[in-house]
Each structure stands twice: as structure tokens, then as C-alpha cells.
């Protein structure tokens, strides 16, 4: 009895010391007096986290049904399956039922109008759902899109649907900056970049037509190097995407950029897309410090020259290389008013900032008003890596990747490094 008391006091002391340490070590912009440490995550006061699932491996995107069940898409098989249905029997937030199906790895997964949509790196499938939003026949999906380009770099196909029967698919560029020799020091860009014909953009297809190929779709937006996080915004009725900006400004053009500039530039950008727009890759990048579209060095840029071409501006910009992998517009009623219609972004975390310190491994939030960001971005959930010494791609314990909203307004975050699904809830004091 005495022993037990001693140990619980000791545990308490360790927890206190740890949270103190976490507070004093961190330099991010969140006001630390109002954050809590919960299931390993740092969150604003009033929020708490529970691990809805753990150990699923490479959990990429997720979607949650009106019944509160979770579907997870994996980019590496777990127990021979690549999609998991997770169910919570007793309502404690932790899922107790795991049913696996599907034999193709991939990233995209979402639910719309009675169907579960999921993607491999070359195809998009859909599964009919029953009234409880369970897949009726897991072994027989309909193939709706086929033959998309996947050449290793940026090969994941993220998906989003609008309210008019269309599905939008990211097809990432199989290149960093369309150099004649990819990632070779000083190699110049190909003009015009031939990749853009079949990749480096968002393609639009019908959500209910089988076996569509490139010929059946349209290139909805171009000049996007790679998009992993995207979401249909119902309040603006438009598609928003998060681009992964180019790498290696210093490594490839050391005379024009030092390592500090190369870590910070270019911005990771959020774009609102309208049909036919061009976001500028590989010709230009967005510099969030100068607030300008700068010509890439592969195309004659010097870090200052701006473009006169008709490329659109981002609606929000973030520090370089943080790798935005998930985007979600919050429409729930559980979180405080400021979160309504705002954007959550899951930043997977950087590698290309080396030798400078890495950044990301967090979920950010951007408040929106009248369809536009109403102030700067802020950190919402931090410490996925597991402490400052783990903020690196190889060491991070967890890397945020996908986002979903539960029927009660809770926020789910998937992690493709530790295979954890976090459920974040809010309770006013």
C-alpha cells in the first residue's frame, strides 16, 4: 500500500517535471500557459486527446462516418491489408474492432453519398456502403479511375469530392523542379516542362463512372508540384489544396541561396483553385518573406526576379519543407467559435531543411472569415515527434498525415510513422 502511494507520487513528480521541461524548452508561437500535454500532444487549454488506435503502421488519410467509425488508408500493408475499418464498442474513444480489407497501398480515402472512395498510387476505387456506412463487399470495389502516372517521387493520389458528382485527384510531378537532370547541381529547367501534360496538377473526373482514364478527365489546375492535403470547402464551394514546395535551392544553386534561405524557402502554400488556374510550378515559387512569386533558378531566376505571368497567389503561406499532408475545413460545433470554417493542416515534418533544424511534425490552424484566412496561422497540436530531440524524419515517434472530423465535431489525426489515430475533443470549462 505504502509502496503504491510512493510510486504514484513518483509518477506524478515525473509527469510534472516533464511538462515543465516541455514548457521551458519549446520556442513555438503558442502561449505555453494555455497548453496541455495529452496523449503526448501539446494542445490549447480545454482540448484533450485520446489514442483511438495504435500500431497500424503507415496510416495515411482517414475518414470518419456519421456513426463515428473510422476508415484508414495505409501506404504499407498491415497484416496483409491496406484499408482498416475501426469501431469503438463501448464509447470510450478507443476503437476495439479492426477489420482489414484491400490489397493495394495508397493514401486517399473519403466518404461521399453512400460510397467509400480509396486510392492506390495509380487508381481510384469505390465501395458501396450500407445504411450504417459499412462496406457491403470489401472484396469487390468498383474501379472508377485507372492508369494514373506514378513514378516514385510524389506518387500518392489524394482525393476530394465536390457536391456535384465530381472527384478531384492530385497527380504529383515525378520531379523536384523539372530539371533536365532531376536534383543535379546546376542543371537547368526544361522549357516548357513536359511533365505538366500528365502530372503536376489536379485532375477532375466523374465520381460515378467506371474505368476513367486521362482522356475522360480534365486537368482542373496545373503548376502544382505535389499536393497531399486537399479538401472541398463547402462554405466557398471550392477546392483548397496544400502544395509541397520544391527542395534544394542551396544544394542545386549554392551561389544564389545559403542554407538558411534554402531551409525557409520556398513557402508551403495553400491555394484556392478555380478551373483552369496555374499555380506556377516549376517556373516560379512563392517567397513568403518578400511576399512575391519568384522565378526559379532553373528558369533564370536569381532569388529576386519576379514573374509577370498569370500565376495565382496562394491564400496562405507557411515556412518551407514542413510537408502539409492533410487539410480539413472544420464545420463542427464542438470546438470554440473561432475554429468554425477554419482550416486545420497536418504538417508531416521536414527533411529538406537540413543542416538547419527541422520543422513541422504538428497540426496548424488558420482561422477563416468570409472564405479567406482572417489572421496568421498558429500551432494547434504539437509534439508529435516526441520532444525537441526527436524533431527529425528518422527519429520522430509520430508524423501527422491525415485529418478527419467526427460526427460530434471531434478532430481525428492519423500518423504514418507510429500508426496512431488521435481523437481530439474539446470541453468548455
Amino acid at each position: 500500500m505504502k509502496n503504491k502511494r510512493f510510486y504514484s507520487m513518483l509518477a506524478l513528480a515525473i509527469i510534472c517535471a516533464n511538462s515543465l521541461l516541455a514548457c521551458s524548452n519549446d520556442t513555438s508561437s503558442v502561449d505555453k500557459s494555455t497548453t496541455v500535454l495529452n496523449a503526448g500532444l501539446e494542445l490549447p487549454t480545454g482540448f484533450s486527446t485520446i489514442k483511438a488506435a495504435e500500431g497500424l503502421g503507415e496510416a495515411r488519410h482517414i475518414t470518419v462516418t456519421p456513426q463515428g467509425d473510422i476508415y484508414v488508408k495505409l501506404s504499407s500493408a498491415y497484416k496483409d491489408k491496406t484499408i482498416y475499418y475501426l469501431h469503438d464498442n463501448n464509447g470510450d474513444g478507443k476503437t476495439d474492432v479492426q477489420t482489414g480489407f484491400g490489397d493495394y497501398v495508397g493514401t486517399g480515402i473519403t466518404i461521399k453519398n453512400g460510397y467509400l472512395y480509396a486510392s492506390s498510387n495509380t487508381e481510384v476505387y469505390r465501395y458501396k456502403l450500407d445504411a450504417a456506412n459499412k462496406v457491403i463487399d470489401p472484396s469487390k470495389p468498383e474501379k472508377i479511375i485507372t492508369g494514373l502516372i506514378a513514378r516514385f517521387q510524389h506518387d500518392s493520389k489524394s482525393i476530394a469530392l465536390d457536391n456535384d458528382g465530381n472527384i478531384y485527384v492530385n497527380i504529383g510531378a515525378y520531379s523536384n523542379s523539372c530539371q533536365e537532370k532531376d536534383r543535379s547541381k546546376g542543371s537547368m529547367g526544361i522549357m516548357p516542362c513536359p511533365i505538366l501534360d500528365s502530372a503536376g496538377g489536379i485532375w477532375k473526373f466523374k465520381a460515378d463512372k467506371l474505368n476513367q482514364t486521362y482522356a475522360d478527365g480534365i486537368r482542373y489546375a496545373t503548376g502544382l508540384r505535389n499536393v497531399v492535403g486537399l479538401d472541398w470547402n463547402n462554405s466557398t464551394n471550392s477546392l483548397f489544396v496544400m502544395q509541397h514546395g520544391r527542395d534544394g535551392l542551396h544544394d542545386l544553386f549554392p551561389d544564389l541561396y545559403d542554407t538558411k534561405q534554402s531551409a525557409e524557402l520556398p513557402a508551403e502554400c495553400m491555394y484556392e483553385l478555380k478551373e483552369g488556374v496555374n499555380c506556377g510550378w516549376p517556373y516560379v515559387y512563392y517567397d513568403h518573406i518578400q511576399k512575391k512569386k519568384i522565378i526559379n533558378p532553373e528558369y533564370g531566376g536569381d532569388g529576386k526576379k519576379t514573374t509577370t505571368e498569370n500565376f495565382i497567389d496562394p491564400v496562405a503561406a507557411f515556412p518551407g519543407h514542413m510537408a502539409p499532408n492533410g487539410l480539413l475545413f472544420y464545420t463542427g460545433n464542438m470546438f470554440p467559435e473561432k475554429y468554425k470554417n477554419g482550416a486545420f493542416i497536418a504538417f508531416h515534418g521536414s527533411w529538406n531543411r537540413a543542416p538547419e533544424p527541422q520543422k513541422g511534425y504538428l497540426v496548424a490552424f488558420v482561422p477563416f472569415k468570409d472564405g479567406k484566412p482572417s489572421s496568421d496561422w498558429e500551432i494547434f497540436a504539437d509534439n508529435f515527434a516526441g520532444g525537441p530531440e526527436f524533431v527529425s524524419p528518422g527519429k520522430a515517434k509520430h508524423r501527422p498525415c491525415g485529418l478527419a472530423q467526427g460526427p460530434d465535431g471531434s478532430l481525428y489525426v492519423s500518423d504514418d510513422s507510429g500508426g496512431t489515430i488521435y481523437k481530439i475533443t474539446y470541453k468548455a470549462k
Partner: protein, 135 residues
């Protein structure tokens, strides 16, 4: 008598080993700088790489294996997506043939003796010989 000879042999071997080890120090030190300048962004400061993107350099069959194969790899780079010890990595490694023979010898000696690796040094002559056969 036999014992003495064995002792002498052991001592000689050991000092030779020590000599060889201390002798690669300057090359390792120079190689570290080459690594930091041209390789670190992708393979990271601890040589651990980036999961699924850029491979680790710790105890891979390339890094500590056959030197000819290793020199060829670094000179040519690859876009062919070759499995490294059974794992695939999605990034491309550009040819590093702009580096001088000595820089390549140094950086390879460095990676073969860092990140938990222990393998013989790579010499300038070995790089020169391989470069002559690689286009």
C-alpha cells in the same frame, strides 16, 4: 620461441592496424566536410536518411560493401529505383561525378567509418580506376 614469434606477430599486426586506423583520420575529417556540403540534406546529419525517401547509410550492403560498386554508385547516381537491402526509396540520387577523385575517396572513407560503420578506406587510386570505366 614459438610463443615469442606469435607475440611479435600479434603486436606487429595490432600496431599496423592502429597505424591504418589513425592514418585514415585526415581523410575521414576531409570527407566529413564533403558529406556536409553535398550529401547531408538527403542522408541527414546522422546518416539515417529519410524513411521511404532517402536510404540510411548505416550498415547497408552498399556503404560497407564492395568498394568498386560503391564508387560506381556515387559517381553515377540513379533514377532507376533500386532496392537497398530490400527497401525502396522514392527520391532520385543525382550523379556526384562533379566531385574530384580525392573528394570522393574522402567522403566514402568517411561514410564507411561513421554512423556505426567500420570498413576499409577508399583511396584516390581506386576512385580514379573506377571513374575511367564509368561514363
Amino acid at each position: 620461441m614459438k610463443k615469442i614469434i606469435i607475440t611479435i606477430l600479434v603486436v606487429a599486426f595490432f600496431s599496423l592496424y592502429l597505424f591504418a586506423q589513425t592514418n585514415i583520420k585526415p581523410s575521414v575529417n576531409r570527407g566529413k566536410i564533403v558529406y556536409e556540403t553535398y550529401c547531408l540534406t538527403c542522408h541527414q546529419d546522422d546518416g539515417a536518411g529519410v524513411p521511404k525517401l532517402n536510404p540510411t547509410l548505416s550498415n547497408t550492403s552498399y556503404t560497407t560493401g564492395d568498394k568498386k560498386k560503391l564508387i560506381t554508385w556515387v559517381l553515377k547516381g540513379t533514377t532507376d529505383k533500386i532496392a537497398i537491402d530490400g527497401k525502396f526509396y522514392s527520391n532520385n540520387m543525382a550523379p556526384q561525378n562533379y566531385l574530384k577523385d580525392e573528394e570522393i575517396a574522402d567522403v566514402l572513407t568517411y561514410i564507411r567509418n561513421s554512423f556505426g560503420n567500420k570498413a576499409s578506406a577508399v583511396t584516390v587510386a581506386e576512385v580514379k580506376a573506377v571513374r575511367a570505366t564509368v561514363k
